[in-house]
Amino acid sequence: MPVFYETEITSRLMLGTAQYPSPAILAEAFHRSGAGIATVSVRREAGGERAGQAFWDMIAALGVHVLPNTAGCHSVREAVTTAQMARELFDTNWVKLEVIGHADTLQPDPFGLVEAARILTDDGFHVFPYCTEDLVLCERLVEAGCRVLMPWGAPIGTGLGLNNIYGLRSLRAHFPDVPLVIDAGLGLPSQAAHAMELGYDAVLLNTAVAKAGDPTMMAEGFARALEAGRLAYEADPMEPRDMAAPSTPVFGRAFT
């Protein structure tokens, strides 16, 4: 099972907590999938609203690890301050670092990401960077202190799956000892299984589960796909080939 910053997690599924039809369905999605990490965020609250406390009580009751994000931050300053506020609220030094570089694709700003990762690591954070599959960017993030990498499969919320298999595969080959998580873009369990077959350590989902017609059933579907894909990876799959090769023995065939 994956180990993030010396903490072993009992599941390869990391699940977001947004967009579910109800809090009860959110909780059931976690129970049914066995997801080990919940991503959360911080947002403005009005005086007397007390919604944050209620949400926090529900998340705490799930008994999973909490990974606060810096979603929506477009600058290093915003991301660093958001991470610091989240650390106080959630009492964890883990942070899913997002520095968004483009409003249409929500793709990471690689330059701001490296800078923020360095600042937060120096401040004692354990940074989980939401990044692209760019090899040089990932090297810089590791140099900045990141001991986990979370490349996107496709833009957030698109459900397009793994858009650059080559890039993801070469990332796995270049960082055999760094936990790799597909963060964002998955829509179907088969895509999560594919990530496992590539040797990735975990996937992070939100929309694919929360916006399914039956979120809890989809959560379980993803959990099973992750298990199947990981088994396939560990089983050392056969090499693909272009020409057919009979599986039934040729020797002893009748009429020869």
């Binding site: 977001g16 907590t17 947004a18 965020s41 911080v42 609203e49 944050g52 610091q84 957030i156």
Partner: protein
């Protein structure tokens, strides 16, 4: 004194961040704060003086992906 709280301009009689939170009904709430884009830890709020034009952020736990 005019300050901005969570993007809204308002008048306050409070002179510290801690007093502002009480004035606005946040006493005892699970919130984190920033002044002018810099994080202010909960323990520092009583000493954090407010100045004309300060931009205050008050956030709480929320759903996220």
């Amino acid at each position: 004194m005019k300050i901005t709280v969570n993007g809204t301009l308002r008048d306050t009689a409070a002179t510290t961040l801690d007093a502002l939170l009480v004035e606005l009904g946040y006493a005892g709430a699970k919130v984190a704060t920033a002044v002018n884009e810099s994080f202010v830890p909960a323990a520092i709020r009583p000493e954090q003086r407010l100045n004309e034009g300060d931009r205050i952020e008050i956030v709480a736990p929320r759903q996220g992906g």
